[in-house]
Subunit: 359 residues, 2 copies
């Protein structure tokens, strides 16, 4: 079986501002340890994929930075979108390239901006999932919920479809987008739901079938690009077609209506590290409940994240509780934990004020 990884590395990670920027996206950040998120993503799969089996979908503005982080990948494995159109088109474009390599390929759609603590188990489940996918199932990795989060999509497990290497693949009965708090509690208590990790394993021909069936306009557009693959017409065609592609996520566009979806629930210490509070959960706290990266002196300071990785400044706090303080070379954020979702609004505000240097 030919098995490929397609790493999605197109986002910016707005909610991690001021650390994340247009030209310093989340996947290029050293949020956990001394490796960037993209380096972690490559490290995780390096033992099970050869460099030439790893593909990356991203934007032109990120290729240089990503290639510098993973020089072992062939440059031609970076698949460049002229502009981001959501996860469905990104996966579709990646699938085209893999299809050209190998029509029978199985592909793992992976992310460059998530963190996983149990990497050995992650590798095992990828290999197991590939076996399940060979039978034609669209496999999604489900994450065993650690809390009734309303920030994730949920997948309901149905009957068991297969057992491979100790992992069970269940029929995915239903996708529920970000639920209400009450619904989330019920779902988690039932034990029948997993979080949608955004990681998928499937045969390339199967996902193309689904694009054809469920996203026919996109499929036609994809076919137009496909006809030019490996020719000088490829880039002009992509540049012309892509802006016309309707933005769509793989969940809405394909998974919710797909035939034969399987979910393999795993407990691999997955975190989407989507925001400062989620990073807080990932990093170890000291005895005062503070999570500190960089020089800090606190008096009566509790439950606070001080993220100051470049260490150029001492952060001194007095009488501070549940605060997020992120210090970077040119911008500083101070925000209570409970309002961390509004970091996105801050970035919008800066954009509307055309303070482009901070974006």
């Amino acid at each position: 079986m030919a098995f490929y990884a397609l790493i999605m590395a197109g986002g910016v990670g707005t909610r991690l501002w001021p650390l994340s920027r247009r030209d310093r996206p989340k996947q290029a950040l050293k949020l956990v340890g001394d490796r960037t998120m993209f380096e972690h993503a490559i490290d995780r799969i390096a033992p099970i994929f050869q460099p030439e089996e790893i593909f990356v979908v991203t934007g032109a503005e990120h290729v240089g930075s990503l290639a510098a982080q993973a020089p072992e990948l062939p440059l031609e494995n970076y698949i460049v979108e002229p502009e981001g159109r959501g996860t469905a088109p990104a996966i579709g474009l990646g699938a085209l390239h893999l299809l050209r390599n190998d029509p029978d390929a199985v592909m793992a759609v992976l992310t460059a901006d998530h963190f996983i603590t149990d990497v050995p188990q992650f590798r095992q489940v990828l290999t197991a999932a590939a076996e399940v996918a060979e039978d034609g199932h669209l496999v999604t990795l489900g994450i065993k919920p650690s809390s009734p989060s309303t920030g994730y999509g949920y997948i309901k497990q149905g009957e068991s479809l297969a057992e491979v290497d100790g992992f069970t693949a269940f029929r995915a009965e239903r996708f529920t987008e970000k639920p209400s708090a009450e619904t989330a509690v019920h779902m988690v208590e039932s034990g029948e739901y997993s979080w949608n990790s955004g990681m998928f394993i499937w045969r390339v021909d199967r996902i193309m079938e689904e694009f054809e069936r469920q996203m026919d306009e996109f499929y036609t557009q994809l076919a137009e690009v496909q006809a030019t693959l490996g020719t000088p017409g490829y880039k002009p065609t992509l540049d012309r077609v892509w802006p016309q592609v309707t933005k769509q996520t793989i969940d809405y566009g394909v998974m919710e209506g797909a035939a034969d979806v399987a979910v393999i629930p795993v407990d691999i210490g997955w975190s989407d590290v989507g925001s400062w509070a989620s990073l807080l959960e990932l990093l170890p706290a000291d005895e005062d409940g503070n999570t500190v990266v960089g020089p800090h002196v606190g008096i009566d300071t509790h439950g606070t994240l001080v993220f100051n990785r470049d260490g150029k400044r001492l952060v001194a706090t007095i009488g501070v509780q549940d605060l997020i303080i992120v210090d970077t070379e040119d911008a500083l954020l101070v925000c209570p934990k409970e309002r961390e979702q509004e970091v996105r609004e801050m970035v919008q505000l800066l954009r509307s004020e055309e303070r482009n240097g901070y974006l």
Copy 2:
């Protein structure tokens, strides 16, 4: 009448950390407008004193910085203490130098780290106070209290001693050090009390008399130094004697027990700018009650001081109330307004941890 100014410029202003440092004391800071506190102090009195009539008491480590700020003062007018021993010895040393210049001199003891908004009235009261002082009174400038602050000393006004240019000099009946909140309320409501501004006007021979009478050990030490004035023995003598001088404030050491003290109450917009919250009161607030110096973007931010004068970083705040945020090149402070007095403890903590670069 020979009238001299003696500016006390020896302190550091610990509670204004991280802006204030050992080598960047409060008087060298641009807290209000584009002039340093010392420049403000010189500007205020420049129309009534010639440069050679202005003397400055400070530490050796500050002379260079102060001289750069006020190059018009003769260098020999900087009177250098080997180490700070409190305001009484500083004033005593200054008095020695003035006495040598002119035994009949009247001196105004002024501060380099206070701010005054009504400068014309300040100049008028200085001139009027000098007239009152000529008669032998030890004149202190009293500040009309704007609140029942427990952070200042209070002076009780007795009978009227003199009227000069519309200012009334009252007999100072009693000095009360930082009172309880209840006492402060009573004192302010009575209308008979002024804050002790730490600014004094007196004949040099009169203050020497008081040193002789009330601080006889210090007076003997001072006489030892006096004998060497203008000789090569001056500095070695001062260096030997000064460390033996008992630390003492002019209030405890002299004023509380002095004969013939007068107070002239004035309302000159005086502020000691002793801490971040007091600076907050001095600077104009925007419609959200925020006081901002430097680049700032806020979402739902109220009553907050953002002091970021070097403007090298954007300070972004979300959902923040009554916070003090001070950003400097190498250190950042985040502290609720109500705990600003603990900035002093932060500096002590840094000292105890020998983080000398931040002191």
